[in-house]
Structures are given as structure tokens and as C-alpha cells.
């Protein structure tokens, strides 16, 4: 069964673990779940986030200064397992996971009830070649990114690997938090919907408004919002932001 599949459209929020405070994660998960968010992505902070824009760079660097790391992250999650009702996805660059130890990382993810992993710098080719016995044979699915420029055959391959999770559609070839217009890509999005072959398709990187969310629902199964939410969080206007977004 696929925890990310539902009737109707989903809204997902990305938060950086350890931002704004080391202990914020617990509070944020419960808050967002209460607000009706369908699933969450928890960002593992990294010193060199090469696909991220200024907002996520900044929150990552604050989180690291706050003392966030994978050991702390799993400790915080294990303390609240019973209270979590929505799927959680961990998203982070490969290096901190390698240093934690891939096998122990996967065991910890399993016991924390993690539903998926997004590791932007790990392609499925690398999983096949280097990590078949760890990531490749884990119960926790890896979630892959595609962009409007990803080839049809590659999307078909990714769809096959994603039957227990979803495909993360990066709306445009831009780092996180960049603004853009959805309609420019709508033809391609409609094609992607077909290629994804029933695997949920969620759109992220640059989504910030209720109007974009609405427009995205024509082509995808939902949206993922990161930088815009973190920005609201930094201004302490997150409640207002969600109210506008979800109304």
C-alpha cells in the first residue's frame, strides 16, 4: 500500500530539522499535522546544500549551529512516534547519511516510522551500482526527483521504482525557493502525468501561493512547499501563511 496515495489533492510542507530552534521539530510536526497537512518532509541540515536557494541554506546553517544532527533528529522523532499520524519523509544530502552509516540510518528510519527518503544527490543508477544492499533493499522507498527536462524513458524507469511512494516533480530547472509561473510548463506537466503511470506526482521547488497550489492541482496530485513556509516561520507568520494556503 502507498501511504502517499489519496483521493483528492495533497499538500506537503518541508521543514528543516533544528530550525528555528534545536527542539522545534516536535512542535512543528504536531502543528502542521493539526493544520491538515497531508505529509511532511523533514530536511536534514547540511553544510553544503548545492540544490538549495538562500532560504534553505540559511535555515540549514542555523539548524547546524543549533546542534542538529542525525542522532538528535532520530532521538526527537522516537520520543513522539505515537503522536504522529501523517507520513514523514526525510530529505537530505547523502554525505551526513554516509557518515552516520547507511545501515544504521535505515534501521533508525524504520523504527521512527519514516515513509520515504529523498536524497537529491543519489540517483537510481548509483543506488544500483553502489548501494543495492543498503538503500536498494530497504523497506523504506527512495523518492526520486524529475524535472521538465527529464527524458520520458527515465521517468518511466523512475515510476517503476516508485510504486510505494511518489515522484517529486521539480517544477522548473531552478534551485529551491525560486519564483516561477506554472503555466509555462503545463504541456509538459500533462505528459508527465501520463508517464508517471499512477504513481502520485507532487510538485515542488518554487511553490508559494494558494493560487499556484490551485493551478498545480490540474496537473499533479499535490504540492510540496518549503522555502515559502520557512520564510513565514522566520517571520512568525506561519499560521497566517497556512490559513491563506489552505483556504
Amino acid at each position: 500500500m502507498n501511504p502517499f496515495k489519496k483521493t483528492g489533492k495533497s499538500v506537503s510542507i518541508f521543514i528543516t530539522a533544528g530550525y528555528p530552534k534545536k527542539e522545534s521539530l516536535t512542535e512543528q510536526i504536531l502543528f502542521l499535522q493539526d493544520q491538515g497537512i497531508d505529509f511532511l518532509e523533514i530536511g536534514i541540515p547540511f553544510s553544503d546544500p548545492m540544490a538549495d536557494g538562500p532560504v534553505i541554506q540559511e535555515t540549514s546553517s542555523i539548524a547546524l549551529k543549533n546542534g542538529m544532527n542525525l542522532a538528535v533528529l532520530f532521538e526527537q522523532l522516537s520520543g513522539m512516534k505515537e503522536q504522529i499520524k501523517i507520513p514523514l519523509v526525510l530529505m537530505g544530502y547523502l554525505n551526513p547519511i554516509l557518515q552516520f552509516g547507511v545501515d544504521s540510518f535505515l534501521i533508525k528510519c524504520e523504527s521512527a516510522g519514516i515513509s520515504g527518503l529523498i536524497i537529491p544527490d543519489l540517483s537510481f543508477e548509483l543506488v544500483e551500482k553502489k548501494y543495492q544492499h543498503s538503500f536498494g533493499s530497504s523497506k523504506i522507498p527512495l523518492i526520486y526527483l524529475i524535472t521538465p527536462a527529464t527524458s520520458d524513458s527515465r521517468i518511466a524507469q523512475i515510476a517503476q521504482l516508485s510504486t510505494k511512494s511518489f515522484i517529486y516533480l521539480v517544477g522548473q530547472n531552478k534551485i529551491t525557493g525560486s519564483s516561477y509561473s506554472l503555466s509555462e510548463h503545463q504541456v509538459r506537466y500533462s505528459e508527465l502525468q501520463l508517464l508517471s503511470n499512477g504513481v502520485p506526482l507532487f510538485l515542488g521547488f518554487g511553490i508559494s501561493t494558494a493560487a499556484q497550489k490551485q493551478e498545480a492541482s490540474n496537473y499533479t496530485d499535490g504540492v510540496i512547499i518549503g522555502s515559502a513556509y520557512l520564510q513565514a516561520l522566520s517571520k512568525k507568520t506561519e499560521e497566517e501563511f497556512l490559513e491563506n494556503l489552505l483556504s
Binding site: S47, D48, M50, G53, L70, Q99, I175
Partner: protein, 396 residues
Amino acid sequence: MKITETIRPDELGFYGEFGGAYIPELLRPAVEELTNSYRSYCFTERFKSEYLDLLKNYVGRPTPLYFAKNYSQKYGTKIYFKREDLCHTGAHKINNTIGQILLAKHMGKTEIIAETGAGQHGVATATVCALMGLNCIVYMGEKDMERQSPNVQRMKMLGAEVRPATCGSKTLKDATNEAIRHWINFPDSYYLIGSVVGPHPYPEMVAYFQSIISEEIKNQLREIESAPPSKIIACVGGGSNAAGAFYHFYSNEKVELIAVEAAGEGLESGKSAATSILGSPGVIHGSFTLLMQDSFGQVTEPHSISAGLDYPGIGPLHAHTLSLGRTKSIPIRDDEALNAALECCRLEGIIPALESAHALAALEKLAFNPEEIIIVNLSGRGDKDMNTYQKAFQNL
């Protein structure tokens, strides 16, 4: 150029366990386009003749293999300097930028981006962009822009736009992150990387363009000596001059290859850049290699008096050959490099770059017999380091 006799990575870009392309999907089409263009173009006769013509008439190659008589006397052996410091723009960096700019031009690119630490690669990139009439944007850490302001001015005079990297530690690794982000946002631009680092195919490609150094050493030495060199010594930050100087000798096990790393203020000081000794395997800038990191996998900030060696990673080719024992690493402290620089000035009348001074300092750490042939790759000249030298030697 021959490429048959060297170490080549596998199809996914791995040298043994090191290398590969650990890149986000957003970069994949651009990296694939680059890989295909490199494979189909850079081994053609047309490319080679243009490349070699520019190296000869624009860069000033072949650079001399100079018998350093006074050094030889002092160390009781035969010491040769490969004079990369005599290249146009003052260092070996331009061998690579010439190769890549011809590729970029062939690919129809109009905008070139680059990262730079000390500014040498930035200057070499700005130079070839001016030559080819292409737009040039160089990312440079805000801190490095202050440290190396003459090179910022040179790049600007050459028509490049220099953009400060203001994130993280504001040095080379952050400039590299910014250049990668730019490439994600503008995949039609050409990212001209400056060392044997980054995702496949960069390490292979940059090593190939720098391999002219060892090709010349081989040919030049054949005319003067009857044996191959016993040791080749080169400094390693990311490792492009070392890769070039070692390239055609990897297959000859009799030639000892010595990679000199910057120990900064000392290996134990917490202020060092000796990656092969202090680092561990991990992923940096799209490549699985050795890097300096904390126990949680966060990349740590290195230190070296030489901005060109001030990088927390090392090219995957070097990680591989070091792990095989084919290459040996020697750490050199800031103060040892400064002394070696002064020694080179006084003995041979050559002011070396601080990076190259690290390679020279390694001579003190080695024992020689008189019949040996030692080659030190003098990767760059010291003009850019005059501020540092002035401070260090104010009492001369």
C-alpha cells in the same frame, strides 16, 4: 596526446571506489550533454590541433624542464623544475581552461561560469573567455576576494564579472556551491571547473587537459637523461597540477609520485588542509572522494596560507591512487612552505607561488641518492602572493 597509457575511470566515472556523479536530477541533462560532447569532440584531430596550437602560441608551451643546479647541489641529487610558472597567466591552470573553452565553444555555449579560490583559475578562465569572446562570470568567496584583490582586478580588466559567494565560510567551497547553483538555474551555461574535482566527467577531463605537463616532461627528459624520473613532486589542493604531472607516469611503477598537501599550521592544529591524512571518504561537490568533515558529515573549513590549497576535498583520482599506495602524500606546514619559497628565490632566482613552494618544501623531507632524477612541478609563479610574502619577510 596519448590517453591510452593512463588511469581512466569506469563508465559512471569511478576510479576504484572514488568518483562518480553525485548530482541532483536538475543537473543531469547538463552533465550528460557535457559528457557526450567531451567524448565525441575532445579526442578528435580537429580539437587536438586547435588545443595544441593555442598551448604553443598563446600559453607559451612547452614550458622548460629546467635543471636546477643549485638545488641539485644542495640536496645532492639531480633536481629539475617543470616550469608551469612560465605559462601565460602565471600557472598551469590555463592548460585546462584552454581545453574546456574549446569544448564550450564547440557546444555553442555563450556564457561561462567558474569558481575560484586564489583567483588563478578565475583569471585563466576570464582570459580564455576574452580570447573567445564569451561572457564570463566567476564566483569567488567574499573572504577570498579580500585576500586576493589583485586577481579580482585582473579578472575585471579581462571583462569577467566577479560575484561574491556570501554563504557558508565565504571561501572556495562556497564559491563552488554557488557556481553549481548557477548551473542548475541556467543549464545552458557552461561550468568551467578548475580542478580534478566535481562530478564525472570533470575529474577525467581536467586531468586529460593537464596531462600535457607529464607528456612534455617525458619527452624533454628523454633528450637529457637516459632513465625515467625517480620521483615527481607536486602540490595538491584539488589536485590538477599533480594529476597533470603524474598522468603519463602512473603506469610506470618505478616512478615515485609524491602529492604534497598543505598541513596549514600543523596536522594537529585544527587549522590544516591535509585532506588525505585528515579526511575520510564522503561526497563533496558531486564526487565520492576524501574530504575533511566532522563526525556528522558536515564539511569542515580547511586552512592553508596558500589559497590554492585551501580546499576541503581532493580529486577522486588522487583519493584512488593514494588508497592504492601508488601516490604518497607529504604534509607541509605554512612556515615550511614560506621558507622553501625564500630558498627558491635565493638559490634559483625564481619566486614560486605559495602552492608550488609546498612542493619544494617536500625536498627537505626526502632522502636522495646522487643518481636520482627528481622533478618538482613548479605549478605557478609568486606574483599573486606578494602580499603574503611581504608580511612574512618584512625583516629581510
